[in-house]
């Protein structure tokens, strides 16, 4: 399917308008999206489909009690965002991320992971 699309679009003078991943989508996370891990993680890591702008990309993590458990500003390198997590107990953790891709487009999303059995 890619070849005919390539031929058609090649004739389109696409200038700077086309792109495979024009928004930074979440590619994978550690802990995994929706997963259950036995012990509270010390760090949350998010990998995106595009490189991020550190100045405008953020993540918030709330623990089972509803309080923030992330340690503030995340460390961002290339397409990876990492944030340390404060020690907390078993239960559901809610992650909300906001990403600004280097191509200036913003995306946001949220997911949950669980700690315990």
């Amino acid at each position: 399917m890619r070849t005919p699309i390539a031929i058609i679009s090649a004739l389109s003078m696409s200038l700077a308008a086309t792109g495979a991943h024009a928004h930074a989508f979440l590619d994978h996370a550690s802990p995994l999206v929706g997963s259950t891990v036995p012990t509270p993680p010390h760090e949350l890591s998010l990998s995106f489909t595009q490189n991020l702008e550190p100045a405008f990309s953020t993540v918030e993590v709330t623990g089972p009690g509803g309080a923030r458990v992330d340690q503030g500003k995340p460390q961002i390198s290339g397409n990876t965002m990492r944030v340390g997590l404060k020690p907390s107990g078993p239960g559901s953790y809610h992650v909300h991320w906001h990403a600004l891709s280097v191509d200036t487009h913003t995306t946001q999303g949220s997911f949950t992971f669980h700690v315990g059995q």
Partner: protein, 438 residues
């Protein structure tokens, strides 16, 4: 159509391509053509004056539209209203701490340098030294090429991060050399007049422009192929989304421009020969002038389409990771996978308004996955908005469905599927999904 960023982008693309095109024309086409004329000094002065107007107006418009693009993008990046940008230091942060801002800073320096170079390069009197010509061409090429670093081509991983922006830089240069040089070409053909001497000038200019045009079209084809490879879409996505339909409109216009260029080269230019039929040559010259302006108009329309495409989600996003089975043309689709299972979410129609959602659950190997209860949450693309959460019902085919959801805003929504698989066993999957404007 009411997004001011659309207009800022359109004017900036058009103005930048005009600036670079005028420089390329003066450096590679106009001067060589005019030197062979008997009234070369007069013609050179006339054409340079007109090209200087084109280049200077292009430079000023590119600066003004560039400022507008920068401010509007800074507002979008930060989520701040325009009035707060300066007071909260957002503009400075964007300028110094983002790749877009760094690119804009570099392009501002290039624009200022071009302004300085233009004083001598576009001067009516005096010959341009080869060194000044080379420096001006390099700066003009950099000015248009660095537009690629403010667009969708950057940010990719691995080899894509090198190949895609490189292709876009070449794509922009080729577009500037062809489309940007059309207006100066039409001006030269007009200034050359109707006599025999004009035929020499016109023929030389047309042949040189044609050679440059062939190289440009070839470059656009190759670099467009590379862009399309990274587009990674589908025929359905091209035909079934606004992004795809605009892309197809570009294809039609591009074909039209290539067809006109072929007519110019193969049918009209051969009539312009010394010692031939003067009346036929003059008629061909009139047609060539008119065709150059038609091509320039088509090029301007393409630039307008490019400006629109830049603020729409690419077609591939509407069907991100599309599965093999049929998906309605108007639907938004998302495949979400984790090590515990997967969900295929179809929102039909995938634009603003009332939509129905279908969810197919599967295990980690994409086999059937039984669930006791499934809940769907759709989070709007606006910070602080209340998510829409609904329980899904299972149809006779085993698909989970939620009907009548109001999608009130276009953009990147987040879809979350929460499935209860058994006592204490739950599967939660989340991913972005693009909802298009109606």
């Amino acid at each position: 159509m009411n997004d001011p960023l659309l207009y800022a982008r359109a004017f900036h693309f058009a103005a930048t391509i005009t600036v670079a095109g005028a420089v390329f024309f003066v450096a590679f086409i106009g001067g060589s053509a005019i030197r062979k004329a008997k009234n070369a000094a007069f013609l050179m002065a006339e054409v340079r004056t007109q090209c200087a107007w084109v280049a200077w107006i292009g430079l000023v418009v590119s600066l003004l539209s560039g400022v507008a693009w920068f401010v509007l993008t800074a507002a979008s990046m930060s989520g701040q209203p325009l009035g707060n940008l300066a007071s909260q230091g957002v503009l400075w942060t964007v300028l110094t701490q983002t790749e877009f801002g760094n690119d804009w800073l570099l392009r501002f320096v290039l624009a200022c340098a071009l302004g300085g170079l233009f004083v001598h390069f576009l001067a009516v009197e005096g010959a341009t030294s080869p060194g000044l010509k080379a420096v001006t061409v390099i700066f003009a090429a950099a000015f248009v090429g660095t537009l690629a670093f403010a667009g969708h081509a950057i940010g990719g991983q691995g080899i894509e991060g090198i190949v895609h922006p490189t292709a876009d830089v070449l794509h922009l240069l080729a577009a500037a050399a062809w489309v940007g040089a059309l207006v100066p070409l039409a001006l030269l053909l007009h200034a050359a007049g109707q006599d025999f001497d004009a035929l020499t000038v016109a023929r030389t200019a047309l042949l040189r422009f044609s050679t440059l045009g062939i190289a440009s079209v070839a470059t656009i084809l190759v670099t467009g192929s590379i862009n399309a490879w990274y587009l990674d879409g589908s025929i359905d996505a091209l035909l079934g989304t606004d992004y795809g339909r605009l892309l197809l409109a570009k294809i039609v216009l591009f074909f039209g421009m290539v067809a006109i260029a072929a007519v110019n080269r193969l049918l009209l230019t051969p009539h312009i020969v010394l010692g031939g039929d003067l009346t036929a040559a003059q008629r061909a010259l009139r047609h060539l002038r008119r065709n150059a302006l038609i091509e320039a108009t088509a090029g301007a329309t393409i630039i307008g389409i490019v400006a629109m495409l830049g603020i729409l989600p690419p077609a591939s996003h509407a069907h991100h990771h599309a599965a093999d089975h049929a998906i309605p043309a108007d639907a938004a689709f998302q495949h979400i996978h984790s090590d515990q299972g997967m969900a295929e979410v179809t929102i039909d129609p995938g634009h603003t308004g009332v939509a129905n959602v279908t969810i197919r659950l599967g295990d980690e190997n994409e086999g059937p996955l039984a669930a006791q209860k499934v809940t769907l949450t759709l989070t709007p693309p606006v910070a602080g908005s209340k998510p829409i959460t609904r329980s899904a019902w299972q149809d006779s085919d085993g698909l989970w469905r939620v009907d009548g959801i109001e999608l009130w805003r276009p953009g990147d929504w987040t879809v979350t599927v929460s499935a209860t698989l058994g006592p204490g066993k739950r599967l939660v999957l989340a991913a972005p999904i693009v909802i298009e404007p109606r």
